[in-house]
């Protein structure tokens, strides 16, 4: 039996339209259309050719349904020029990473979910409460933000070869229990990545079931991110007049946000007049820092850890992409790329590296043995 949704998934990951795939296979587009809405037998030859064209093994198409990331629930943070087929590809890749994570963690106690949910609170209040819930001080910078989010139960994934115009998206999964999921472009500079994560966290805590004007939702997430990363009182106490771009830029490494975000925040807090604000952005533009801020203040980008950690537990360090790919019948190359954009044990400082071995040694499986994964019935 061929699961049409899996065919659709493979096709969308390869950025093919139904017509393009049909042309490659020498069939009418309606055949693909019909195939993708059904679970039924199809000629072996056709399936083999789909496998060749998409690079997915035939067994992938024979699997049952995976989780869904309903389109309406996704709040994409990206430039408007990001093509629709790239958005779709990112979404499908994220679904596969989520599904793999679910399977790999079948023997693992779910990480306790400790993020609040809000209704009616202002984004700033929500940010302050979220800080407290996550065990963060009210007026201190947040180190290792992604790690903090993962430790509090958010599944954070990076997608391989993401378009530069893509920043992040987030949603609550349709699984039981529902799980907050965040997908990021880990090739972004560290400060940008942190801001994107804070923005998506805003969506997760404020817009569990997103409704209403999209611009409003985005503004709320933006306000949340500003207060979450740059608490008003702390920033007001750290900046004094006359404010110069250099004085503001000095805060970048300490707070882990871009100079531009700091300028915007200073303006929001009334520390900069409209004229000063425009003047600073003129300087930033002229110096070419809108896209690339000066390298001497670069923030090292953090990468999400959970996905690769589970793979390491399941198959050893470094993880065996072949074994992990077999869990979901995925192309090995694709899994290699997925693993590469997540933090591995070797990326951790020496003090943190002991943790994984501790888990393997004291847990039931022997090191290097593959855990039995939860298999969904086909």
């Amino acid at each position: 039996m061929i699961n049409g949704l899996r065919v659709k998934q493979a096709r969308e990951i390869r950025k093919l339209t139904q017509s393009e795939l049909a042309d490659k296979l020498g069939v009418h587009q309606s055949v693909i259309g019909k195939m993708e809405t059904d679970v039924r037998e199809w000629p072996d030859d056709l399936i083999r050719r789909i496998a060749i064209q998409t690079g997915f093994p035939v067994s992938f198409f024979e699997q049952g349904f995976g989780p869904e990331f309903p389109l309406g629930s996704l709040l994409f943070r990206c430039r408007a020029s990001l093509p629709a087929n790239e958005k779709t590809r990112l979404r499908q890749l994220a679904i596969l990473e989520f599904e793999l994570t679910e399977r790999l963690s079948s023997k693992i106690k779910p990480i306790e979910l400790r993020i609040p949910s809000f209704k009616g609170e202002s984004p700033s209040d929500a940010a302050r409460i979220t800080r407290t819930t996550l065990g963060l001080g009210p007026d201190t910078p947040i180190p290792h933000l992604l790690n903090k989010l993962e430790r509090n139960g958010i599944f954070v994934f990076a997608v391989p070869n993401a378009d530069d115009r893509f920043d992040a998206f987030s949603l609550w999964s349709d699984t039981e229990p529902r799980r907050p999921v965040m997908i990021v472009n880990s090739s972004k500079p560290g400060d940008r990545l942190r801001y994107n994560c804070a923005h998506e966290l805003g969506h997760l805590v404020l817009h569990r079931s997103p409704r209403g004007n999209l611009d409003e939702l985005e503004k709320e997430a933006q306000s949340f991110a500003s207060e979450f990363l740059l608490p008003a009182e702390a920033i007001q106490s750290e900046l004094s007049n006359p404010l110069t771009l250099t004085e503001i830029a000095k805060l970048k490494p300490r707070w882990g946000v871009s100079i531009q975000a700091l300028v915007v925040r200073s303006h929001e807090l009334g520390l900069l007049t409209d004229r000063q604000y425009r003047y600073m952005f003129e300087q930033i533009s002229k110096l070419g820092w809108r896209k690339h801020e000066p390298a001497n203040l670069d923030i090292k980008p953090e990468r999400p850890r959970l996905f690769r950690k589970l793979a390491e537990i399941a198959s050893g360090v470094p993880p065996d992409a072949k074994k992990i790919a077999a869990v979901l019948n995925l192309p090995v190359r694709m899994v290699e790329e997925m693993l590469a954009v997540h933090a591995g044990k070797s990326d951790l400082p020496p003090s943190a590296k002991g943790e994984l071995s501790k888990v393997i040694v004291s847990g039931s499986p022997k090191p290097g043995t593959v855990l039995e994964f939860r298999n969904k019935s086909n």
Binding site: P242, A249, L348
Partner: protein, 221 residues
Amino acid sequence: MNTKPEKPEEIRVWLAAACNSAYEGLLVGALKVQEYFEHESADVDRPLAANLARYHAKHYMLTRRRFNAPYLIAQPPNNGIEIRQDWCSVKVLKGRDGNAPTASSSLRSQRFYRQALQPRLRGIDWAKVWERADWRTFIRNSFHLNLILCWETDFDYNISRMQLMCPRESGKYGEGVKVFWKVDIPHPVQGLIGLESVDEAHELEDLAVYFEDASEQGDDD
């Protein structure tokens, strides 16, 4: 003499604190100019603007100078700014199209440009000594170095360029100043180094993962 920085880039780095202070001050000054003429709803009056910018720049530099800064700020007339650091004097002057302004007609100004402000030694005319000297000969034999920190603005009175120049001769009006060398001064933000980042300051702990059938393992939060 051997410990003196000799290469232009080394001299720029050696003077970084002073140059950054002047750069910052002029950025503040340029903003004040914009605010002033915006408030007056008038076109920017260039001579007045330069005076205003220098006034605010100097005020900024004097109030922000740390007590242990390696340089001193001299206060020549007409809102002039001059920085002194060890064996070096730097005049902060407004230039145009990548050139410093020519020297005024005063003898002192001419001697500044010709690097003739050296200790008086009987029978030696420093300006003549340096006439044919190359940079290396000059820097190895001079007692004093005169430099120009040349700032420029665009039409909207944003600081568009900042250069450190070593003058050789003023040249006639319109010919441009002859220099041994000139180097661009980067924006002060580009000179911020060694600041500890948010992640470096805190140790990272790996994710705690617990097996269903095991008792407490992994780290605690």
